[in-house]
């Protein structure tokens, strides 16, 4: 299918579909600290290996060992690599396992960068923040958002296997550029939503009021006259700033926020102490 191939293809649409399904289901089942997704990767491409090397035990052994090697990338992006790998494997027929390894290890790094940003960070922000926002308003219907989006992603993953197979080694250039653009646009959308999420879901009630003469000044109401949501954004920006500090971990930040919450919640009583 790619211009690099000379003989007629042995890998069928059905084979690719099968690989795509295995990729979705099996890539991470055997995840471990040594080879990470290596075991799952070998599992994923097994149908191709069987087809190509069924009658050649030596090549089969070599291929198995090769594909059990270290592999790690964003699952959604792995389909592109598996597809490209299949096309190359079909062309080389085991003659050059180093080329195959080169393809895999060359792509997995950059694809993890783009993929984790787009398919993990931004994607989850968009679907789960809106769903969680609706949940906090008591509406379960929002859970349909990640569910439907999840099926869309599954479809994209499925397609990615074929795109990888057809594009072969040109993946990084053309397709990569498109993904970069998409990531940028998605980041804009994601940041807009994140900004909105802050006043929408962070809603502390701070029980603090001053009596000046006969007028009762509620601290929070006063601050909101500058801009509503000023307390939530202050807490977030403070957290963001803390995370930039050395030695700050998300777990430590969690305890800091717990402490702040306990203090704010008891502020009225604390003030009375003085």
């Amino acid at each position: 299918m790619t211009e690099e191939k000379t003989t007629e293809p042995v890998v069928t649409r059905k084979d690719l579909a099968r690989v795509a399904r295995r990729n979705i289901f099996g890539l991470q089942l055997g995840w471990n600290y040594e080879k990470m997704q290596g075991l799952g990767y070998c599992y994923t491409v097994l149908p191709i290996l069987k087809k190509l090397y069924k009658d050649d035990p030596d090549k089969m052994k070599a291929a198995l060992q090769n594909h059990l090697g270290f592999f790690n990338t964003t699952p959604a992006m792995s389909h592109l690599i598996v597809g490209a790998n299949t096309a190359l494997e079909e062309k080389l027929k085991g003659s050059d396992q180093d080329a195959v390894t080169g393809l895999k290890t060359g792509l997995m790094g950059p694809f993890a960068g783009v993929g984790d940003t787009l398919f993990v960070a931004i994607y989850r922000t968009l679907v789960f923040s809106i769903a969680a926002y609706l949940a906090l308003q008591g509406q379960a219907v929002g859970l349909l958002i990640p569910l439907i989006a999840g099926f869309v992603i599954l479809y994209i993953r499925y397609k990615f296997t074929f795109i990888g197979y057809n594009q072969g080694q040109r993946l990084t250039t053309e397709f990569g550029g498109q993904l970069k653009n998409l990531t940028e646009a998605a980041a804009i959308l994601g940041l807009t939503v994140i900004g909105a999420l802050i006043p929408a879901v962070i809603k502390p009630v701070i029980p603090l009021a001053f009596n000046i003469g006969k007028v009762k000044l509620d601290f929070q109401t006063l601050l909101n006259q500058i801009i509503p949501g000023i307390i939530p954004i202050a807490i977030v920006l403070f957290s963001y700033w803390l995370l930039g500090k050395k030695k700050m971990t998300s777990t430590r930040l969690l305890f800091i926020l717990l402490a702040i919450g306990i203090i704010l919640g008891n502020l009225a009583n604390i003030v009375k102490l003085f």
């Binding site: 040594e34 999420l197 801009i227």
Partner: protein, 272 residues
Amino acid sequence: MTLSIGLIIILTLYVGLAQIDALSAQLGLYSPLFGGMITGLLMGNITIGLLVGGTLQLMILGVATYGGASVPDYLSGSIIGTAYAILSAKGAQYGIGLAVPIGLLLTQLDVLARMSNLFFQHMADRHARTGDYRGVERANLFGIIPWTLSRMIPVFIGLFFGNSVVNLINQYMPAWLMLGLKTAGAILPALGIAILMRYLPLKKFFAFFIIGFVLMAVGGTNMTMMAVALIGLALAAIYMLFKNEFKPAPAGGSPAARTKQNDDDEEVEIDD
């Protein structure tokens, strides 16, 4: 209210299934949001489930298993936390307050599962040397066992001893802590949001973050997240429109270089 053994088993099975979802199709069953909702649904109080799950979801918004990192298990946390909240009849904040330490504790079991799988990797390596591809296949599927058990066991135990634990807590938790946890629950989503901001190109695109914030902050009763998301979509589209229309043709290799620079800006390491 008490938890029937049947319900405990169903929820235990659910968390196993959800863990497989987390590894494979990622449809969302693995999210605290679903965890809370389903527990609430089965225990007859979906609203509390949504509140516990939603808050935990927001706390973990920016946290992900990048590179195979272990993160707090707020899925199990949301199931147990929702169950405790309903059992104790003390409201969602109570459940959140309990789900957080539980989730943190269970981080360790995730590490254990990832380590156990080393065993199957080595099993597969052995089979590969003999060319036994069926063996390799089996080894990968065995990975399901550590993954699911690492979630099912704690959830089963947590639910089984639920009543006793809840009674214990009710006896000893002071009033000021309850009051404090309530406010803490309301600000904890800041955690997930702040982490996420570290992973997104905030420095380059902070303008859009501001716009989103202001729209929601001053938007009044009609403003919704979907409305802001649509505005965000429009702004992204305008950015792309301008990029297509106005971007000068790049000299060889320069766009890559420019991107690299931005990445550097944003790549702040956070230890989870």
